[in-house]
């Protein structure tokens, strides 16, 4: 099996044993990108030269016996939402075309400080608005399982890159499901950590009170390793929690023993029903059966306010983003469009914003501006915050009864590119199951639950845990993953990208 088909943990072990060099690993992934990304378009920017330079430095550290971290030398891809000094950062928007940040976001800095070569920046829906990556101003990313289908979004680039073996690790950002839903669509693992446990400094904000960076990988253990690397308190992010969430990789390793005795699992009553495709529910039910087999105590719990989550989310998010995106006025950075004649600063702002933002971005700016307007604030933003409080209360009550909650990650498998492009509401509904976690700040993980009996595409299962109890997700996730891998004979991989001789 070639190096790119190994997990990040396996690659790290091979680096540690001297079986492979970081330059070899990095080059192998760059080769895969070169071979596949013309079609896939998971990357907006590939930094081959920079990645190889970092790999060489990593190899020298290894040789000198001074690796910086367990993952030193294992290459990584970063969603284009996070600033990287010297590397273009566009958030998938035309308005930031050509912008090269003069600083590293905290997570970028942590990745560099741990010695992981950065392969490049991955594609995303513009400013992370979308569930299909079709809203990228630079064109859609394709699903490695079927190039005519979407890879999910907004982090379709990171999920596709990991799913297509272009990178063993990737950073995503999850505001309403943008890590977990693409994970489900591409048969990969995605984690949204507890709000505040991973620094947002350097993340081009979509909705500050909802955004959270997290890992995209092919295995639960790899996500745990990456999560531990990027987490921790950051004085630059006032909303960051005081202490790092720990014990994640340990929980993943313990979970792989498949002993879930004593674990109370709650199936969310409100995340079932007609909106959920039968093929997705079929795989979900099988996974739940496996959980029971491993000793978990499975019950149904009700979180009644979940039915209002979507409405609250689509007021809070646009409100925050309408303000966040005001800074993109072409005055200080980014793409400027200057109308004819001698336009005023205000006219340049207007024309540049009109040319620089896509339709979905404009739609949300308009909704958010309206929701915050004098006379409407209480009815919209104020009410949405009340619903948010109710959802937090629902989670609290539910977690008195169970240790983790479970649901399908998304209502359907990946759909054909273009199918929902003109139907924003249908697109929004994709995030039904993932949004509540963002509203409450609780952590969530999506892992593959199998392939649809209807279309052969991956389906995902999501676990949610109380705030700061991210370790529970890794325990239960790794247990289920281990049981499923046994059934499948290993990871499920798209045929076009599978190792030769496998599957």
């Amino acid at each position: 099996m070639s190096w790119i088909h190994r997990t990040a943990a396996e690659q790290a072990a091979a680096l540690a044993s001297g079986e492979v060099t970081s330059v070899e690993l990095t080059q192998a992934h760059l080769d895969q990108i070169a071979a596949t990304d013309g079609e896939l378009h998971a990357f907006l920017h590939v930094d081959a030269e920079g990645a190889l330079a970092q790999a060489r430095a990593s190899d020298e550290r290894r040789k000198a016996g001074n690796p910086l971290h367990e993952l030193d030398g294992v290459p990584i891809a970063i969603k284009d939402v996070l600033t990287t000094e010297g590397l273009p950062t566009t958030a998938g928007s035309r308005i930031l075309e050509g912008w090269i940040p003069p600083y590293d976001g905290t997570v970028t800095a942590k990745i560099k400080a741990a010695g992981l070569p950065i392969l490049g920046k991955t594609n995303m829906d513009e400013f992370a608005m979308g569930s299909s990556t079709e809203n990228s101003a630079y064109g859609p990313t394709r699903n490695p399982w079927d190039h005519d289908r979407i890879p999910g979004g907004s982090g379709g680039g990171s999920a596709a890159a990991v799913g297509a073996f272009q990178a063993p690790l990737a950073i995503g950002s999850d505001t309403g499901g943008s890590i977990r839903q693409p994970g489900a669509m591409t048969g990969t693992v995605g984690v949204k950590p507890t709000y505040g446990s991973v620094s947002r400094y350097g993340v081009i904000a979509l909705a500050n009170s909802l955004d959270q960076l997290g890992p995209c990988t092919r295995t639960v253990l790899d996500s745990a390793l990456l999560h531990e690397l990027i987490g921790g308190h950051d004085p630059r992010d006032s909303t960051s929690v005081p202490n790092a969430v720990t014990g994640l990789a340990d929980a993943a390793r313990a979970g792989a023993a498949r002993d879930l005795n004593g674990l109370r699992v709650g199936i969310v009553k409100e995340l079932q029903g007609d909106a959920w495709n039968a093929d997705v529910v079929e795989r979900f039910d099988e996974s739940v059966a496996l959980l029971k087999e491993m000793g978990a105590d499975v019950v149904e719990v009700s979180l009644p306010s979940f039915v209002h989550a979507m409405a609250a989310y689509y007021l809070i998010l646009p409100a925050e983003c309408s303000s966040n995106l005001a800074k993109f006025d072409a005055m200080r950075y980014g793409r400027r469009v200057t109308p004819e004649g001698s336009p005023s600063a205000e006219e340049v702002m207007k024309v540049s914003r009109d040319a620089g933002f896509g339709d979905e971005v404009k739609r949300r700016i308009i909704i958010g501006t309206y929701a915050l307007s004098s006379g409407y604030y209480d009815a919209f933003y104020g009410q949405a915050q009340k619903i948010r409080t109710l959802i937090i209360e629902d989670f609290k009550k539910a977690f008195e009864q169970v240790d983790v909650l479970v649901s399908p990650t998304a209502p359907s498998t990946a759909w054909p590119i273009g199918e929902k492009a003109d139907d924003p509401l249908a697109m929004y509904l994709q995030d039904l199951a993932t949004i509540p976690a963002n509203l409450a700040g609780v952590p969530g993980i999506s892992i593959p639950s199998g392939l649809s009996s209807a279309d052969g595409l991956p389906t995902g299962i999501q676990f949610l845990a109380p705030v700061l109890e991210d370790a529970r997700l890794y325990r239960v996730g790794a247990a289920l993953e281990s049981a499923l891998f046994e059934q499948w004979g290993g990871q499920i991989t798209p045929a076009a990208y599978a190792p030769k001789g496998a599957n």
Partner: protein, 497 residues
């Protein structure tokens, strides 16, 4: 546009003024409100900046604890309640000097609220009620080049310096100030002056109005005499000296009255104050003003000062200005009238510093309230900006006490000081102003004067000492005032006895 201005006395016959004062104080913290950049005045443009205060994508704010401390101390000194829990909010509007196109400020949850400050005007005490004191960040500084107005409309281009962006500000807002009548302009001035003294005593700001570290917006409205309803207000922005505060109130009262008496209605609008002639002119109309779409800043956690901390800070408050004045009056031995004049002239700090530098209180009072006040008035500036420091005044007085200068020569030294010719000693040297302390030249001048006026010499010899005055005068003239008149008198008497 020519305004119809009504005579001040006539305004008062027909209207009651109501004022609201909004004062911005720039804190002297080492770093900015939400980032680690130096918060300093001056510096090459756009050098004290970082991703946060430039509003770069991805950057986040973090609250400066020292600024919160300063805000709480200001609140406590203004007898305010201190919030147990409060948040920052975003004030959304587009303007090129705003890096994020929103200002991070406090909206409906100020750190301090419901306080007061007592001020004295001509022996009468006015309690100015404070509605709130809140924290916010300053914007960048825009310079509009070209065009006639110096404003963004019509400018050829604009230069923006973000060094100022993110410097911590405290905005202190009064409740409507009513029932001040003819004293309204003086009350406004006295309030800003008292606030400035208070903040200065706290040591949390330079409070230099001339440098913009303290800025005042004056809201004014008139209501028909006896009416209990407030009229429509105008908001005069950036009134940047104590004198201007008084003038702005006076001008707006006359202008509003002109509109109202001619049957018009006052436009609710922002106005610009013009230092040159004490007038105001229309800015953008407030009725047009944007909806700021305030909402809580999601990148910051609430500020929740513990009661213990608040009490610790209360213990650090300096002596209240009113008590301080009582103490100083007793220390200095000033009469009530002398003290009041000194307060009205805004000379208390200056006298205190001059006394601290070694001058007698009465001497310090005399210089600040006569010579220097006169010149400040002529130049149209506040006393503190007249161009002379307390240390220099004390030095001049020391030279008088030592017999090196007399009052007349001292005034010439002040001429030199106002002209920026250096220290008092340097000016004396350059201008050759010192009293002639050597008897030789004086005796020679006396000889000349006696020879020129032999009849006077006879009178003196005859016992008419008063006649010596003529000789003293002649000697003073001959020495161009640089003789010590008493010494000359003594020498004449000795010479002729």
């Amino acid at each position: 546009m020519t305004e119809t201005l009504i005579d001040f006395d006539e305004v008062l016959e027909k209207f009651d003024p109501a004022m609201g004062l909004e004062v911005h104080v720039e804190l002297n913290t080492n770093t900015k409100m939400f980032c680690g950049c130096p918060a300093v005045f001056g510096g090459a443009p756009n050098t004290n900046v970082c991703p946060t205060c430039l509003g770069l994508p991805g950057a986040m704010p973090a609250v400066n604890a020292k600024a919160v401390e300063s805000a709480i101390r200001i609140g406590l000194a203004l007898n305010c309640e201190i919030a147990e829990w409060c948040r920052f909010a975003r004030k959304n509007y587009f303007y090129p000097d705003m890096p994020k196109n929103f200002q991070t400020s406090q909206y409906d949850e100020p750190i301090a609220f419901e306080g007061y400050l007592d001020v004295e005007v001509e022996g009468e005490t006015f309690r100015i009620e404070i509605e709130r004191a809140h924290m916010e960040e300053d914007t960048g500084k825009a310079t509009h080049v070209g065009g006639s107005t110096g404003r963004i409309q019509g400018a050829d281009y604009s230069l923006i310096d973000y060094n100022r962006a993110g410097i911590p500000l405290i905005e202190i807002v009064t409740k409507p100030i009513l029932n001040t009548g003819a004293k309204a302009p003086l009350v406004a001035k006295a309030y800003v002056s008292a606030l400035r003294d208070l903040v200065k005593a706290l040591g949390v700001s330079d409070v230099r109005m001339d440098q913009g570290s303290m800025r005042c917006d004056v809201n004014l409205s008139l209501a028909p005499k006896g009416s209990d309803k407030l009229g429509t207000r105008s908001e005069t922005k950036n009134v940047n000296s104590l004198r201007s505060v008084e003038r702005a109130v006076r001008y707006e009262m006359s202008r509003h009255a002109g509109i109202l008496l001619s049957g018009g209605s006052v436009l609710q609008e922002t106005r610009h104050f013009h230092e040159s002639d004490g007038t105001t002119s229309s800015g953008r109309e407030k009725s047009d003003a944007e909806d700021y779409r305030y909402f809580p800043e999601p990148d910051l956690v609430p500020v929740a000062p513990s009661r213990e901390w608040v009490e610790e800070l209360r213990a650090t408050l300096p002596e209240p200005p009113a008590e301080r004045r009582v103490r100083l009056q007793a220390d200095w031995g000033f009469t009530d009238l002398e003290m009041r004049d000194a307060i009205n002239a805004d000379a208390i700090d200056l006298i205190e510093e001059t006394v601290a530098a070694g001058a007698a209180p009465q001497a310090a009072r005399k210089w600040w309230l006569s010579e220097i006040s006169r010149r400040a008035n002529e130049a149209g500036v506040d006393l503190v900006d007249a161009g002379v420091s307390p240390a220099q005044v004390a030095e001049v007085q020391k030279l008088i006490d030592a017999g090196t200068l007399n009052d007349k020569l001292a005034r010439q030294v002040f001429d030199g000081l106002f002209a920026g010719e250096g220290t008092p000693a340097e000016i004396i040297e350059k201008r050759g102003l010192a009293l002639v302390s050597d008897d030789g030249p004086l005796l020679a001048a006396i000889e000349d004067a006696l020879a020129a006026q032999p009849d006077i010499a006879e009178k003196i010899r005859g016992g008419n000492v008063k006649a010596a005055g003529a000789i003293v005068g002649a000697v003073m003239k001959a020495t161009r005032g640089q003789a010590d008149a008493a010494r000359v008198q003594q020498l004449i008497v000795e010479r002729l006895s």
